[in-house]
């Protein structure tokens, strides 16, 4: 039955057009905005990309991963090693591939763990990689940090925007695919999912690797902005918590939830840091607690249509 699919496309086409227009508008920003705005927007887009890639896996499955900083750091070190010999897009792909490979290996071992055990392991991964890199750098390279080739803030901006655009498309397609459905089923009940023929380990592994690709790519881009990096900067656990908090704040049920969360968070952080530098963390924490208490489905949850009602619009009976 092609009919409901078509109606779905008609319904989706309006938000689709709005998102496309918004991305296109943002693309013109470097033409007239200040250098500072471009740098600030690059950060916001980076957070949006990280938060969205976090939500790709953790949103539907409910597996909270704190490994974002690990994959982000892998991307950073990719640029640190190859930044002087490769163009930025190639660095992004390389960072993404390295991250995916590590995610696949780690996931194959740890995705058998459920709930909080998985979360603890992923958090441990950040520390593990940090100390491993620190050890190899001091032992073999005789150094603590590295300088990274710079590509200019406008290049960074466009690479980030391209990454976010590709990621939005990937996340959109994933949600509609069978793999996306399988991920939701795993989140609803992993046992039940396995017993209706879903290869839960394979599906989780695929999504975990896919989401870490974008994290690595984002790290590869950001590294070029920082000029100097060391393991402490590259594997900063804040980069695990922020995307998760942004995704929760924005809401993971909707595709744009994590993006909305990242924009609101980044703007809020900017305002609070400049106005209340000493109280910033306290206010931030209070807002986060209030958000979890009063908006369990996040910012986008407030404008969500009720799912039961929506399903009745779709005439599933005729074929």
């Amino acid at each position: 039955m092609g009919n409901p699919g078509l109606r779905l496309d008609m319904k989706k086409s309006v938000p689709f057009a709005i998102v496309a227009a918004a991305l296109a508008a943002v693309a013109f920003l470097p033409r007239f905005a200040s250098a500072y705005s471009v740098v600030f927007c690059s950060s916001v887009i980076m957070y949006a990309a990280l938060s969205l890639s976090y939500a790709m896996f953790s949103g539907p499955t409910g597996y909270v991963s704190l490994a974002t900083a690990a994959f982000f750091g892998v991307g950073i070190y990719t640029s640190a090693f190859f930044g002087k010999s490769l163009p930025l897009p190639a660095l992004m792909i390389a960072g993404g591939v390295f991250s995916s490979v590590i995610a696949f290996a780690v996931g194959a071992i740890t995705l058998r763990l459920r709930g909080v055990y998985f979360t603890i392991f992923t958090f441990g991964l950040v520390e593990l990689l940090k100390h491993f890199v620190l050890w190899t750098e001091t032992t073999f390279a005789g150094t603590r940090g590295r300088t990274v080739a710079s590509f200019g803030s406008v290049t960074v901006f466009y690479c980030m925007l391209a990454l976010l655009t590709a990621l939005l498309l990937a996340a959109f397609l994933l949600r509609r695919s069978r793999v996306g459905k399988a991920l939701s089923a795993i989140g609803e009940s992993e046992d039940a999912a396995a017993h209706i023929g879903i290869n839960t380990t394979a599906v989780k592994l695929l999504a975990f690797s896919l989401s870490s690709f974008a994290m690595g790519a984002a790290g590869a881009v950001m590294a070029t902005r920082w000029a100097y990096i060391d393991p402490g900067i590259a594997f900063n656990s804040l980069m695990s918590f922020m995307p998760a908090l942004m995704a929760i704040f924005g809401g993971t049920d909707r595709l744009l939830g994590p993006v909305a969360g990242a924009i609101v968070f980044a703007a809020l952080e900017e305002q609070l840091i400049t106005r209340f530098p000493s109280l910033y963390m306290i206010i931030f924490g209070a807002i986060m607690i209030a958000a979890i208490l009063f908006m369990p489905s996040g910012v986008t949850g407030l404008i969500r249509r009720r799912p039961a009602k929506r399903k009745e619009d779709v005439p599933v009976g005729d074929s």
Binding site: G187, E188, A194, I196, G197, I198, K311, G317
Partner: protein, 241 residues
């Protein structure tokens, strides 16, 4: 040769043998009742057959091929489907999407159109047609149980394991469930059902197996089982010497 065979199956949890050296056979097209007091090992036996847990020892063969130790999704695709004692429907999905998920993943290489057709057919079959677009939480208990059965059926099983689908149902709903099980069986699916509702066991099962403390206590026709002194003692807590 039966469609499903278990030989010398054992599973230990800590110091307790939950399933202790159990043999069973399921003939193609039959309904086998599985009864026994709480903690007898009935659900553990289902978990072993469906791959949720692996046996410590023993062998399971499906259609003559050894399937012991296979993952649940592999067994499901081969044709062994199950329901859970406490229904594990996906509460975030509609009735239709619950069954569709089973239809899409339950068999390899089923097209989307075929899966949708299977979904509609299965929902009609179990009598949930009027609830097609409804949310799972809108269903009464009997409906939840039927949905659980529909999710298993949409994977097109050869063997269906039903774990207490009648628990908590009123007498007329039990009657409806018995009719449904008979219909499933007539469509060519062999069934093993765990049940405490004796009327249902006696009404639909061709054969009954009794488990007690993980061991097979008795096996036979329903009327023989209901007269078996050992079974009566276990169930009624009769006098012990």
């Amino acid at each position: 040769m039966g469609i499903l065979e278990g030989r010398a199956l054992s599973k230990r949890f800590g110091g307790r043998l939950a399933v202790d050296d159990v043999d069973f056979d399921l003939e193609d097209g039959e309904i086998l009742g599985l009864i026994g007091p709480n903690g007898a090992g009935k659900t553990t036996l289902f978990n072993l057959i469906s791959g949720a847990i692996t046996p410590d020892s023993g062998a399971i063969a499906f259609e003559g091929k050894s399937v012991g130790g296979l993952a649940p999704h592999r067994l499901c695709r081969l044709g062994i489907a199950r329901t859970f004692q406490k229904a594990k429907n996906f509460p975030g999905l509609s009735v239709y999407d619950n069954v569709l998920t089973s239809a899409q993943f339950g068999k390899k290489g089923r097209s989307d159109a075929a899966a949708r057709e299977m979904t509609e057919r299965t929902i009609e079959f179990v009598g949930l047609g009027p609830f097609l677009g409804k949310s799972v939480t809108d269903l009464p208990l009997a409906g939840q149980k039927r949905l659980e059965v529909a999710r298993a059926l949409a994977t097109a099983p050869r063997v269906l394991l039903l774990d207490e689908v009648m628990a908590g149902l009123n007498p007329s709903e039990v009657g409806g469930a018995m009719e449904l099980i008979a219909m499933i069986n007539e469509s060519g699916v062999a069934v093993i059902m765990i049940e405490h509702v004796m009327k249902a066991i006696m009404g639909v099962c061709g054969r009954v197996m009794v488990l007690h403390h993980g061991q097979k206590l008795a096996e036979g026709a329903p009327e023989d089982i209901s007269r078996n002194p050992a079974v009566i003692e276990v169930y009624l807590g009769g006098r012990r010497a």
